[in-house]
Symmetry: C2
Protein backbone atom coordinates (compact mmCIF):
# COMPACT_ATOMS: atom_id res chain seq x y z
CA UNK A 1 0.00 0.00 0.00
CA UNK A 2 0.89 3.66 -0.04
CA UNK A 3 2.80 3.47 -3.24
CA UNK A 4 3.62 6.56 -5.17
CA UNK A 5 2.53 6.17 -8.78
CA UNK A 6 4.96 6.47 -11.63
CA UNK A 7 3.43 9.83 -12.37
CA UNK A 8 4.32 11.05 -8.91
CA UNK A 9 7.80 9.70 -9.29
CA UNK A 10 8.26 11.44 -12.64
CA UNK A 11 6.81 14.63 -11.23
CA UNK A 12 9.38 14.76 -8.47
CA UNK A 13 12.23 14.00 -10.83
CA UNK A 14 11.13 16.76 -13.16
CA UNK A 15 10.61 19.43 -10.57
CA UNK A 16 13.83 18.62 -8.75
CA UNK A 17 15.67 18.96 -12.01
CA UNK A 18 14.06 22.33 -12.58
CA UNK A 19 14.97 23.43 -9.07
CA UNK A 20 18.56 22.50 -9.82
CA UNK A 21 18.73 24.79 -12.82
CA UNK A 22 19.66 28.47 -12.61
CA UNK A 23 16.46 30.03 -11.35
CA UNK A 24 16.04 32.57 -14.13
CA UNK A 25 16.61 29.96 -16.83
CA UNK A 26 13.58 28.87 -18.78
CA UNK A 27 13.84 25.13 -19.39
CA UNK A 28 12.40 23.31 -22.33
CA UNK A 29 10.14 20.39 -21.63
CA UNK A 30 12.17 18.35 -24.07
CA UNK A 31 15.34 19.06 -22.11
CA UNK A 32 13.78 18.19 -18.78
CA UNK A 33 12.30 14.98 -20.16
CA UNK A 34 15.61 13.92 -21.59
CA UNK A 35 17.51 14.78 -18.43
CA UNK A 36 15.27 12.88 -16.05
CA UNK A 37 14.49 10.05 -18.46
CA UNK A 38 10.74 10.38 -18.71
CA UNK A 39 8.60 10.25 -21.87
CA UNK A 40 8.12 13.83 -22.94
CA UNK A 41 4.42 13.58 -23.75
CA UNK A 42 3.73 12.17 -20.34
CA UNK A 43 5.85 14.76 -18.58
CA UNK A 44 3.91 17.41 -20.48
CA UNK A 45 0.73 16.41 -18.67
CA UNK A 46 2.50 16.54 -15.37
CA UNK A 47 3.86 20.01 -15.94
CA UNK A 48 0.44 21.20 -17.00
CA UNK A 49 -0.75 20.20 -13.55
CA UNK A 50 2.19 21.97 -11.96
CA UNK A 51 1.31 25.04 -13.93
CA UNK A 52 -2.30 24.99 -12.77
CA UNK A 53 -1.22 24.44 -9.19
CA UNK A 54 1.05 27.45 -9.36
CA UNK A 55 4.23 25.49 -8.83
CA UNK A 56 5.73 26.44 -12.16
CA UNK A 57 5.19 29.23 -14.65
CA UNK A 58 5.02 28.35 -18.31
CA UNK A 59 5.79 30.35 -21.41
CA UNK A 60 4.61 29.42 -24.85
CA UNK A 61 6.12 29.93 -28.20
CA UNK A 62 9.68 30.39 -29.26
CA UNK A 63 11.97 30.71 -26.28
CA UNK A 64 9.21 29.37 -24.10
CA UNK A 65 9.41 26.66 -21.47
CA UNK A 66 9.09 26.26 -17.72
CA UNK A 67 10.46 27.98 -14.68
CA UNK A 68 9.74 27.59 -10.97
CA UNK A 69 6.97 29.90 -9.85
CA UNK A 70 8.66 30.44 -6.49
CA UNK A 71 12.14 29.93 -5.08
CA UNK A 72 12.88 26.26 -4.30
CA UNK A 73 12.84 26.74 -0.54
CA UNK A 74 9.21 27.85 -0.80
CA UNK A 75 7.97 24.78 -2.64
CA UNK A 76 7.39 21.69 -0.54
CA UNK A 77 7.44 18.06 -1.49
CA UNK A 78 3.88 17.85 -0.21
CA UNK A 79 2.74 20.45 -2.72
CA UNK A 80 4.46 18.65 -5.55
CA UNK A 81 3.06 15.26 -4.69
CA UNK A 82 -0.47 16.47 -4.07
CA UNK A 83 -0.42 18.52 -7.27
CA UNK A 84 -0.20 15.37 -9.37
CA UNK A 85 -1.50 12.62 -7.10
CA UNK A 86 -4.34 14.44 -5.45
CA UNK A 87 -4.78 14.74 -1.70
CA UNK A 88 -3.13 12.24 0.60
CA UNK A 89 -5.86 10.05 2.01
CA UNK A 90 -4.94 6.68 3.48
CA UNK A 91 -8.57 5.68 3.71
CA UNK A 92 -11.73 6.95 2.08
CA UNK A 93 -13.10 7.56 5.55
CA UNK A 94 -10.61 10.31 6.15
CA UNK A 95 -11.67 12.36 3.19
CA UNK A 96 -14.71 14.34 4.11
CA UNK A 97 -16.84 13.94 7.23
CA UNK A 98 -19.95 11.99 6.34
CA UNK A 99 -18.33 10.34 3.34
CA UNK A 100 -18.17 7.14 5.35
CA UNK A 101 -21.45 5.81 6.75
CA UNK A 102 -19.51 3.85 9.32
CA UNK A 103 -18.17 7.22 10.43
CA UNK A 104 -19.70 7.46 13.85
CA UNK A 105 -18.75 4.02 15.09
CA UNK A 106 -15.57 3.46 13.12
CA UNK A 107 -12.78 3.06 15.63
CA UNK A 108 -10.13 2.91 12.92
CA UNK A 109 -11.00 6.34 11.68
CA UNK A 110 -8.82 8.36 14.05
CA UNK A 111 -5.84 6.15 13.29
CA UNK A 112 -5.95 6.97 9.58
CA UNK A 113 -6.41 10.57 10.44
CA UNK A 114 -3.20 10.58 12.46
CA UNK A 115 -1.33 8.75 9.71
CA UNK A 116 -2.51 11.25 7.17
CA UNK A 117 -1.47 14.25 9.22
CA UNK A 118 1.91 12.80 10.08
CA UNK A 119 2.72 12.04 6.48
CA UNK A 120 1.60 15.43 5.28
CA UNK A 121 3.70 17.06 7.95
CA UNK A 122 6.79 15.12 7.00
CA UNK A 123 6.41 15.96 3.33
CA UNK A 124 5.67 19.59 4.09
CA UNK A 125 8.96 19.89 5.94
CA UNK A 126 10.95 19.06 2.83
CA UNK A 127 11.47 21.80 0.27
CA UNK A 128 12.87 21.56 -3.22
CA UNK A 129 15.95 23.25 -1.91
CA UNK A 130 16.54 20.26 0.36
CA UNK A 131 16.32 17.97 -2.63
CA UNK A 132 18.79 19.62 -4.92
CA UNK A 133 22.41 18.77 -4.37
CA UNK A 134 23.59 22.38 -4.51
Amino acid sequence: MMELTRKGDYAIRGIVYLAGQPLDRVSLLSDIAAAVDVPQTFLAKIFQQFSKSGIVKSYRGTGGGFILARPPEQITLLEVVEAVEGPITPNRCVMAPGECERDSFCTVHPVWDRVKRQVRTMLAEISLKDLTCG
Copy 2:
Protein backbone atom coordinates in the same frame (compact mmCIF):
# COMPACT_ATOMS: atom_id res chain seq x y z
CA MET B 1 -2.00 8.62 -2.94
CA MET B 2 -1.57 6.20 -0.07
CA GLU B 3 -5.06 4.90 -0.30
CA LEU B 4 -6.02 1.70 1.40
CA THR B 5 -7.69 -0.63 -1.08
CA ARG B 6 -11.15 -1.95 -0.53
CA LYS B 7 -9.61 -5.25 0.36
CA GLY B 8 -7.63 -3.65 3.15
CA ASP B 9 -10.71 -1.90 4.38
CA TYR B 10 -12.71 -5.14 4.40
CA ALA B 11 -9.85 -6.93 6.09
CA ILE B 12 -9.85 -4.50 8.98
CA ARG B 13 -13.60 -4.63 9.36
CA GLY B 14 -13.55 -8.40 9.47
CA ILE B 15 -10.72 -8.79 11.92
CA VAL B 16 -12.04 -6.09 14.22
CA TYR B 17 -15.36 -7.86 14.27
CA LEU B 18 -13.63 -11.11 15.18
CA ALA B 19 -11.67 -9.37 17.92
CA GLY B 20 -14.95 -8.12 19.33
CA GLN B 21 -16.37 -11.62 19.68
CA PRO B 22 -15.83 -13.80 22.73
CA LEU B 23 -12.29 -15.05 22.21
CA ASP B 24 -13.10 -18.75 22.39
CA ARG B 25 -15.99 -18.45 19.98
CA VAL B 26 -15.44 -19.84 16.51
CA SER B 27 -17.11 -17.51 14.03
CA LEU B 28 -18.53 -18.51 10.70
CA LEU B 29 -17.30 -16.66 7.67
CA SER B 30 -20.90 -16.18 6.65
CA ASP B 31 -21.64 -14.47 9.95
CA ILE B 32 -18.65 -12.21 9.74
CA ALA B 33 -19.41 -11.25 6.17
CA ALA B 34 -23.00 -10.42 7.02
CA ALA B 35 -22.02 -8.45 10.11
CA VAL B 36 -19.47 -6.25 8.44
CA ASP B 37 -21.28 -6.02 5.12
CA VAL B 38 -18.71 -7.54 2.79
CA PRO B 39 -19.28 -10.09 0.01
CA GLN B 40 -18.62 -13.47 1.58
CA THR B 41 -16.60 -14.92 -1.31
CA PHE B 42 -14.30 -11.95 -1.24
CA LEU B 43 -13.90 -12.01 2.51
CA ALA B 44 -13.02 -15.68 2.19
CA LYS B 45 -9.90 -14.78 0.24
CA ILE B 46 -8.95 -12.23 2.84
CA PHE B 47 -9.30 -14.64 5.70
CA GLN B 48 -7.22 -17.19 3.83
CA GLN B 49 -4.44 -14.63 3.84
CA PHE B 50 -4.98 -13.99 7.54
CA SER B 51 -4.75 -17.69 8.11
CA LYS B 52 -1.46 -18.00 6.24
CA SER B 53 -0.06 -14.99 8.08
CA GLY B 54 -0.89 -16.56 11.40
CA ILE B 55 -3.36 -13.88 12.41
CA VAL B 56 -6.31 -16.23 12.61
CA LYS B 57 -6.74 -19.95 13.03
CA SER B 58 -9.25 -21.72 10.84
CA TYR B 59 -11.24 -24.89 11.37
CA ARG B 60 -12.91 -26.79 8.58
CA GLY B 61 -16.01 -28.87 8.52
CA THR B 62 -19.08 -28.74 10.66
CA GLY B 63 -18.64 -26.39 13.56
CA GLY B 64 -15.66 -24.87 11.80
CA GLY B 65 -14.89 -21.23 11.29
CA PHE B 66 -12.35 -18.65 12.37
CA ILE B 67 -10.83 -17.51 15.61
CA LEU B 68 -8.02 -15.08 16.43
CA ALA B 69 -4.68 -16.86 16.59
CA ARG B 70 -3.53 -14.60 19.43
CA PRO B 71 -5.22 -12.30 21.93
CA PRO B 72 -6.29 -8.98 20.38
CA GLU B 73 -3.67 -6.95 22.21
CA GLN B 74 -0.97 -8.97 20.47
CA ILE B 75 -2.18 -8.34 16.94
CA THR B 76 -1.29 -4.98 15.45
CA LEU B 77 -2.99 -2.98 12.76
CA LEU B 78 0.28 -3.06 10.86
CA GLU B 79 0.21 -6.84 10.75
CA VAL B 80 -3.35 -6.87 9.53
CA VAL B 81 -2.78 -4.32 6.80
CA GLU B 82 0.45 -5.84 5.55
CA ALA B 83 -1.07 -9.32 5.56
CA VAL B 84 -3.49 -8.35 2.82
CA GLU B 85 -1.92 -5.32 1.17
CA GLY B 86 1.69 -6.41 1.22
CA PRO B 87 4.52 -4.35 2.65
CA ILE B 88 4.11 -0.61 3.07
CA THR B 89 6.33 1.05 0.48
CA PRO B 90 5.63 4.66 -0.44
CA ASN B 91 8.06 4.47 -3.32
CA ARG B 92 9.64 1.62 -5.24
CA CYS B 93 13.02 3.03 -4.28
CA VAL B 94 12.43 2.17 -0.67
CA MET B 95 11.90 -1.51 -1.26
CA ALA B 96 15.26 -3.18 -1.62
CA PRO B 97 18.63 -1.51 -1.95
CA GLY B 98 19.67 -1.59 -5.59
CA GLU B 99 16.12 -1.90 -6.85
CA CYS B 100 16.32 1.70 -7.96
CA GLU B 101 19.11 2.59 -10.36
CA ARG B 102 18.85 6.20 -9.31
CA ASP B 103 19.60 4.92 -5.82
CA SER B 104 22.99 6.49 -5.25
CA PHE B 105 22.10 9.99 -6.33
CA CYS B 106 18.41 10.07 -5.43
CA THR B 107 17.96 12.77 -2.82
CA VAL B 108 14.32 11.92 -2.30
CA HIS B 109 15.11 8.42 -1.19
CA PRO B 110 15.71 9.13 2.52
CA VAL B 111 12.47 11.07 2.70
CA TRP B 112 10.40 8.09 1.63
CA ASP B 113 12.32 5.93 3.98
CA ARG B 114 11.36 8.15 6.90
CA VAL B 115 7.74 8.23 5.81
CA LYS B 116 7.65 4.47 5.58
CA ARG B 117 9.11 3.96 9.02
CA GLN B 118 6.87 6.53 10.62
CA VAL B 119 3.73 5.01 9.17
CA ARG B 120 4.76 1.50 10.11
CA THR B 121 5.47 2.66 13.63
CA MET B 122 2.11 4.33 13.99
CA LEU B 123 0.25 1.28 12.75
CA ALA B 124 2.32 -1.04 14.92
CA GLU B 125 1.28 0.91 17.99
CA ILE B 126 -2.37 0.11 17.47
CA SER B 127 -3.61 -3.32 18.50
CA LEU B 128 -6.93 -4.96 17.78
CA LYS B 129 -7.76 -4.41 21.41
CA ASP B 130 -7.57 -0.66 20.81
CA LEU B 131 -10.01 -1.00 17.95
CA THR B 132 -12.80 -2.91 19.69
CA CYS B 133 -15.18 -0.86 21.71
CA GLY B 134 -15.08 -3.20 24.70
